[in-house]
Symmetry: C2
Subunit: 548 residues, 2 copies
């Protein structure tokens, strides 16, 4: 089927999709659009472009070449944004280090990625010191002193970021190369095994930018991005390229606010003074912002905020809506670009009641255009789109990870049958809205039924005095598995296991959950804390080990 | 520089950019979005998708295969829209025939394109009859009877479109293939030589859709497209794929109104009854619509209309704004996708006066993101972006024609130096707005200066009694070239050559034009009509021949 291809005339330019095009042909370069770091420093897009050139010149002087990997350990700064462009644009690979991992895990990822140069904020120099003896490939360290004096260190420091940029030429000619060149990499940390390296090519990043931008921009008014928005990321820039939104912001020429280390009061202050209108974060950050804004000091109305990373709960959504925040969920994973669906309200949507609107905003949303987003059974056959039939979300989009770095088995498992397996179990409504009900491995198979651990956790959370809970399946000779709940009470509160059972049984009566979903009294355990992963998700692996 | 490429794991799906993705993963398939033909027939996107399957099945039964070319001769109909998808999606090439060409030119293009099957509206059957003896490759003709009885014809008719679709299966599995496969072709008619075949690959169409959609959707309010818009094309669907906008409308799931043959009263009626909010057309059509709406029967306010094909004049822009039409220019050519710039008002734009706003709306606009849009001198060096320095617009975008079909010399000339040469002379303002001043071959080189024929035409049009004019350069021993004006007076009006000269000389005084721009009295000729090309542009070739 390779016939009927278009053959370019010899002189024709066959345009590769490269990250540089997003910056060099951004919509803002002719204007004086600005980028600010914590409101303390600000410069124009023109200056940004100059600094990206300087960064590439400085890294070239350090021996960085096409194919080199350059690691970054920083808070969300303008320097991080410069690395998002400068490093891939020179043909090197940007490695965004998850600074929340343990020193040993960071060591593993720096060695596995074969990083040659590390750009490191002074705050993380001690962490790097700890592992420096075992670093296999790192030749140079560039310190981001961030306005403070250079820290004392025995690392192989090539210089301070601003000093090196000051000495380097802004005139760097960014070359063309194959659009399948690796542009960025980072590591996803499951609950088992070593972190796995995920990579995106230039083509992936450009297509994710275009597809996500057209989806975000196209609603008539709510839950949308437009050229007059002021953008502030509140998802760490090491986390799946801050969901790819910084690339969109640069392409469309938005004002960009980089908040540095996340401090709720500073985030709110920046929101007010810089007139931020568009952000994205995980539910925990949103919760912190709402708490910090209590007392009515901040007017958050009109702030559009995408929530991802974990599920947006109806209660949190309600609280955000009360403050006037135009909050909605997005869905994706480290391996998926990440954005594959967004919970934007449908065109001409008139909710029957607030509950329906909240449900839609909290849902997994509707697939973005060009995403072949399916919900399938074990044979890769579509389940009915009836809002009830459960299946795994499997995907084909123009920008999915093509496999894990040096992990052929995990890569093949990810792509079994030619679809990317998300391991998320979901239902699809007739109107195309998707709702995730659980992770494949967290679904509790009991009495011949599938019970969503997340749904049971949500219902337990309704019991007065409960702060949080985690539900897992434990082996059972008779039923295959049975649910077991770990419950954290609010400070000072006393909750009884019987009260939880009674609460759940009411939902059995109303047929919302199956009777198999209710844990026995001796499988309701009160704990001081629920173990979490480095990105704040419940670590069910630890709980399962504990249950055994 | 082919190192550091991402290698997909064997099971990974490497997603080709194909037209089918725009339809199969459109944002509207879950809803009940509708498509209507003249308000007389309407069906859902779901039904549209079924009919696209039926079309592919029917064409397969006629022997159409991957690589076949299928020609379409129709007014703007839902059937045309079906062919926009069904034909490329099956791996065949859609050939959109310019039905305004002469029979001999149509014959040339049908033979040159090697079209095997022609879908032809009954209105164009006589035209096809005229040339049937010389058709080299056409095996089958499918008649689009459009609700009327089948016309009598001796053409090799395989059947009537609706009958064939009714007999064919909607279940057609659209295969994957290389994204560089030729999806669509059509012919561009210069003023010299045979029409030249322009082609776009699936990748070109998808990237044009994405880049143009994100540009059109991203403004805060004015001059934008959103998901609640109702779209009606008023640029013929044979004309550069109706500027690619139907692909955007399907991808975003807009309601689509196909108006059939353009009749101003019907277009206005459809605007009213179907609540059309987004269209695009050439200036002549806009003029016709404004004339037909006189008397205040139609409320055109809020109608967003892109103007392309030729320049939007300030007077026409003003008249449209008076009616509340949110009118703005777009720029592109048959060879460029077509959209490469749009005259959307910049973010936070506050015009100093109406004139400034009109100027911006009428300008060539600002390049869409990812377009490497340059204005260069003869050595391919950028001219200053000062609003004065003239140069040729040359381009690199992800979706430009890679050459003309079977025309290697013209293809190389188009792509000389690795940039697509538009042959349009323009200036760029410091804020990135571009203004075309003339076509390269129409610029008058006189007295060592370049005079824009278009600018002089615009000034002559201001003289009371003048309806239209065309200015060309004619050889002159002393000055190289001198301007010559052909002027058409309004019915009943009398204009003197002296009045035109006096009017122009006033602009010499105010330094708007050079004294070399004013034609001598004997080079101002009054004519009954200005010769035009098939797409309505002034045919200066004919005028130059006449002048000699």
């Amino acid at each position: 089927m390779q016939s009927n291809l278009i053959t370019p005339t010899p002189s024709a330019y066959t345009y590769p999709l490269l990250v540089k095009q997003l910056l060099l042909n951004s919509q803002s370069l002719y204007g004086d659009q600005e980028i600010t770091y914590r409101g303390e420093l600000r410069y124009s897009f023109h200056a940004f472009r100059q600094r990206v050139g300087r960064l590439a010149s400085a890294l070239t002087a350090l021996g960085v070449r096409h194919g080199s990997t350059v690691a970054v350990m920083d808070w969300d700064s303008h320097r991080y944004l410069e690395s998002y462009f400068g490093i891939p644009m020179m043909g090197a690979t940007l490695f965004t280090v998850n600074v929340r991992l343990s020193a040993q895990q960071i060591l593993y990822t720096l060695n596995d990625s074969e990083a040659e140069v590390v750009l490191v904020h002074a705050d993380f120099v001690p962490l790097l010191e700890e592992i420096k003896g075992d670093l296999a490939c790192v030749r140079h360290v560039v310190v981001l002193a961030d306005g403070e004096p250079m820290p004392q260190t025995s690392l192989p420091v090539a210089g301070e970021y601003e000093v090196l940029l000051g000495q380097a030429s802004p005139d760097f000619t960014f070359p063309d190369f194959d659009e399948h060149t690796k542009a960025a990499t980072f590591y996803t940390t499951g609950t088992t095994g070593d972190p796995k390296g995920v990579s995106y090519s230039h083509r992936d990043i450009v297509l994710h930018t275009m597809a996500t931008a057209m989806t975000l921009c196209s609603p008539r008014d709510g839950q949308r991005l437009h050229r007059e928005d002021v953008y502030m990321p509140i998802t760490p820039m090491f986390h799946v390229l801050a969901w790819g939104i910084p690339y969109i912001a640069v392409t469309l020429g938005l004002k960009i606010v980089l908040p540095g280390r996340y401090v709720p009061e500073l985030l709110l202050k920046l929101h007010d003074t810089e007139k931020v209108t568009f952000s994205h974060c995980v539910p925990t950050i949103l919760q912190m912002l709402l708490q910090a804004s209590q007392g009515g000091m901040h007017d958050l109305s009109g702030w559009k905020v995408i929530i991802g990373g974990s599920a947006l709960s109806p209660a949190l959504c309600e609280a955000a809506l009360e403050c006037g925040i135009d909050v909605f969920a997005g869905y994706g994973m480290s391996e998926t670009g990440p954005v594959v669906s967004l919970a934007q309200l449908p065109p001409r949507f008139k909710p029957a009641n607030r509950q329906e609107e909240v449900w839609m905003r909290c849902s997994t949303g509707r697939p973005v255009p060009m995403s072949d987003f399916r919900i399938v059974d074990e044979n890769l056959c579509d389940v009915p789109h009836d809002g009830k039939s459960q299946g795994e979300i499997v995907l084909r989009t123009p920008y999915l990870t093509q496999g894990y770095f040096k992990k052929p088995d995990a890569s093949e498992a990810l792509w079994q049958g030619g679809y990317l397996h998300t391991q998320d179990i979901a239902v699809m409504m007739p109107n195309g809205f998707v709702q995730i009900v659980d992770r494949i491995k967290d679904v509790i198979k009991t009495g011949g039924e599938w019970v969503s651990s997340i749904e049971v956790e949500g219902l337990i959370a309704e019991v007065p005095g409960v702060q949080e809970s985690a539900v897992i399946g434990v082996r059972d000779a008779k039923w295959g598995e049975r649910p077991m709940a770990f419950v954290v009470c609010k400070p000072g509160a006393k909750v009884k296991a019987g009260a939880i059972r009674e609460h759940l049984l009411r939902y059995v009566e109303s047929k919302r959950i199956s009777k198999y979903a209710v844990p026995e009294l001796d499988r309701i355990t009160f704990v001081a804390e629920i173990p979490k992963t480095s990105v704040g998700k419940i670590n069910k692996k630890v709980l399962r080990d504990r249950a055994v």
